[in-house]
């Protein structure tokens, strides 16, 4: 219950909305970007960064008030936060808690690393698309050129971290 207590100390509880928990420390902004939240939408958004976590050592938390982020839309968060949970809050209570699975398909999220992929050709109206490669490791394959992108590259592209 330690984590919960700390949360309450740092940011007030929200009445209704979404809490994304168990984000690796430093990736809360990447999570917001993946959700497409810029701050201009007018939602009240709270980021809690670098709080203690038993599971992750340090973690980030994102709270969005007044909005229920649906699971399908939130799946991409798992690309940078594989342990993340999506919590739905109603009347100050967590009414559902889901672990996010990375999506089977991505459109426009990643850039293909192959310089001669058609999606890299300048000025062509083509959006990069990827399918998830089966298996334990997080890997995506370009629909067009077949190039496989692994976890390090995904983190680099989406969270700006060089692993």
């Amino acid at each position: 219950m330690n984590g919960l207590v700390e949360k309450h100390l740092l940011v007030s509880r929200i009445e209704m909305g979404t809490v994304i928990d168990h984000i690796p420390a430093g990736r809360a902004l990447a999570v917001l970007r993946l959700l497409g939240i810029t701050g201009r939408e007018g939602y009240r958004v709270a980021l809690v960064m670098n709080v203690e976590s038993r599971r992750l050592g340090k973690k980030d938390i994102v709270k969005i008030e007044g909005v229920y982020v649906d699971e399908e839309h939130a799946k991409r968060i798992a690309l940078v936060a594989p342990e993340a949970t999506l919590n739905r809050i109603e009347n100050y209570v967590v009414v559902s808690k889901k672990k996010l699975e990375p999506p089977e398909e991505l459109e426009g999220t990643l850039t293909c690393t192959n310089p001669t992929c058609i999606t890299r050709k300048p000025r062509e109206p083509v959006t990069p698309r990827f399918y998830r490669v089966r298996g334990k490791r997080l890997r995506y394959q370009c629909v067009y050129c077949g190039t496989i992108i692994g976890e390090d590259e995904i983190i680099k592209q989406l969270a700006g971290e060089h692993v």
Binding site: N114, T116, C117, I118, T119, R120, K121, R123, E124, P125, V126, V133, R134, Q141, C142, V143, Y144, C145, G146, T147, I148
Partner: protein
């Protein structure tokens, strides 16, 4: 399963089932006979086929053109000369839209991987991939499989060697995938270590559960082989030219090697053109299959075109 070809794009050999392929071989058999008999055909009369070669090609383009004309279709198109750029003006997507408006089917070659799949998304008419970068060359793979079937009477349970640049060569890549669809084959992938197959190909082989060995030595495995598919190793692939000089001799197929080591019924294939990978003294041996393979290019491409148009006569 008949009729599943009609209206389809031909982008990768992996898009086709063994039934689809069987239908293709049977159709090619038929056209082979017609060509030999000199029977004029009007199967595709009234249709226009675009041959859009954004990358220079002689062999593949002429083979498609011959196939189209033998079936009575008209052909339009262009071939980019080496070094010129068609890309300066309009976008690739716009060029595809134009060709799609002019013709009933587009055959294309492009140096960018995925160019054919992208074109297929844009075009209303079917797109046939005549080679996209280092990725796919499905009609070459059809021809290669057909050749094995003709000369070996089967496509299953064979020991198949693939020699050369398995990393950047699209013919080799498509051939590996095509032979792996027949899961009882065993593949011997022979290349210098820096030119081994790419991860995406390896994953597919593992998924298909086909047996494969990777080796740098042709001599070590040649005696096991029923089929040896030879491709070119390009000097430019080696960061250090002396590395290339070191390995190039060990990937040369000679009459002496075959006569001392190979099974008597081994067939040696090559998508051509060759530049020294197979010495000329192999040409008049019983191992040589590459000229037949080249000859089958037209009937197999006739089969592809007629199936995609859903016309038979």
């Amino acid at each position: 399963m008949h009729g599943s070809w009609k209206g389809r794009d031909v982008i990768s050999i992996l898009d086709f089932s063994l039934d689809d392929l069987e239908e293709l071989y049977n159709r090619a058999d038929k056209y082979l006979e017609k060509i030999r008999a000199g029977t004029p055909l009007r199967t595709l009369e009234g249709l226009v086929i675009s041959l859009a070669f954004f990358e220079p090609s002689t062999r593949t383009r002429m083979s498609f053109e011959t196939a189209a004309k033998r079936l009575g279709a008209s052909v339009i198109g262009f071939t980019a000369a080496a070094g010129t750029s068609l890309e300066k003006g309009e976008s690739y997507a716009d060029t595809i839209r134009m060709l799609d408006g002019y013709s009933d089917l587009i055959v294309l070659r492009h140096k960018y991987e995925g160019a054919a799949r992208f074109a297929a998304e844009i075009a209303e008419h079917p797109v046939v991939n005549g080679g996209d970068g280092k990725q796919h060359h499905p009609t070459q793979a059809f021809i290669d499989l057909y050749t094995i079937r003709k000369l070996k009477q089967r496509l299953e349970g064979l020991n198949i060697g693939v020699l050369g640049d398995l990393r950047y060569g699209r013919a080799a890549n498509s051939f590996i995938l095509g032979t792996a669809l027949y899961r009882t084959n065993t593949l011997y992938l022979i290349s210098p270590s820096q030119l081994r197959m790419r991860d995406e190909t390896r994953i597919i082989l593992e998924d298909l559960g086909v047996r494969f060995y990777e080796t740098e030595s042709l001599e070590d495995v040649v005696s096991d082989l029923d089929v040896l598919y030879v491709t070119r190793i390009q000097k430019e692939r080696f960061p250090d030219p002396s590395e290339y000089e070191k390995v190039k001799g060990s990937y040369r197929v000679t009459r002496r090697l075959l006569e001392t080591r190979a099974k008597p019924d081994l067939i040696v294939m090559h998508p051509l053109p060759r530049v020294g990978e197979i010495s000329y003294d192999v040409d008049d041996t019983r191992y040589q299959a590459y000229f037949k393979q080249a000859y089958y290019g037209v009937p197999v491409r006739m089969a592809v075109l007629s199936l995609v148009f859903g016309r038979e006569r």
